[in-house]
Amino acid sequence: MKYAYFPGCVTPLRENSYELSARRVLEKLGVELVELEGANCCGFFLDAVDHLSSIVLAARNLCLAEDIGCHIITLCPTCSGHFTRVKAELSENPKLMNDVNRVLSSVNRRFIGSSEVKHIARVLVEDVGVEAIKKTVTKPLTRLRVAPHYGCHIMKPSTEIRFDSPENPRLLDSLIEATGVKCVNYMEKRMCCGAPVMGVDLKLSIEVVREKLRSIKKEKADAIVTICPFCHTQFDLNQSRIEEEYGETYEIPVLHYTQLLGLAQGYEPDDLGLYENRVMVDDLLSLI
């Protein structure tokens, strides 16, 4: 199983432990990664300013994968979601496809649409399979109870993404349970983490994630598990800010799913960048 690894922005520049742990667990699962040389931002962050620019940036990235004949794997659901929506829009709109290819011809590229794009959770569920993941678990983490945070772009909008069920998501739970961990349900499980408005209104963004943290704390979860680098930053980096500003205590470690799986596969915390996490993981590690 071989994929072109699309790095994106948040992971390589802010959440290196996600990339490190993903590389480790994928290696153990027999998934080979090919580097996508010269890739740029997926394009999503230009969408609010100019839709066509966001499409052109996405199409250029997709061309790089087409050149090496690989499907794309991303660690960020916003990247995979944007690529999937752009692919759908281009396949439905031949005029737009022509316009985009006219732009790409200036750098000698042509978008065809032959490469599929999958987020790592999707690769794990659909291509590797939960049963195969279980077979790599050497150290089941049966004493842990964690709160899964799905995020938005992994499933929405479902008309294009077609993965899991936004109203009743299950697949991250099943990936977590494959490691022997128990998932806890919580009131705000389906809600956005608020990260996307961080740059526009920090206080508002913090209030959204605070609501999630409160509902997770109520269920006494040992950790929060994420599959999005930006959601991870929001829960992990901003948790201490909330504790300071509101005089509250959470101290809930936030793990990338790949860190959790890595622990269950017998990797050491250092191999998975666990000490890079901002909320201390020592108490959590004493439970495994």
Binding site: N16, F45, V49, L57, L104, C192, G199
Partner: protein
Amino acid sequence: MPLAAETRRRVIRLEEINDAFSREVIKAGGEKLYVCFQCGTCTASCPIFKFDESYNPRLIIRSAVLGLMDRILNNDMLWLCAACYSCTERCPRGVRPAEVIRAIRNIAAEKGYIHEFFKTQADTIINYGRIWEEEEFVNEMREDMGLPPVPSVNREEVKKILEYTKVKKILASGEGED
């Protein structure tokens, strides 16, 4: 809000209505704008509205249907959408409010009303190919972890393809705005 101001907000004056604006929104990606029947499922599903009622997707959509251009374009509230797609997911009419709001933002940006944060971010993408500039400490950290350096972006290609879209002109027209 004091009563007089609230009344002024509720009363729509004929001279505020700009039909061309509605058509512009539809063309920019809000194809199903006119089928909205104002049920409010978008607002009820919105995580931002839950914490800040000044951001109201149902009101934005209604304003776009009526062509109340000035009320929505020059309004910071427009930039609070988290693009979580909860509204698009649940809209029983298939209006896809998140995409309509995206279309309105594009129009706002083109008319010089871009929010400063989005402007800065777009500038960074044009210049560096990513949402942040690559900093040396990140590579040091990656090396310590045994990761290869941050993969380089082909900045020349990014700059070149963006010459063919409107984005640079849009950012230039936003100069001097708040």
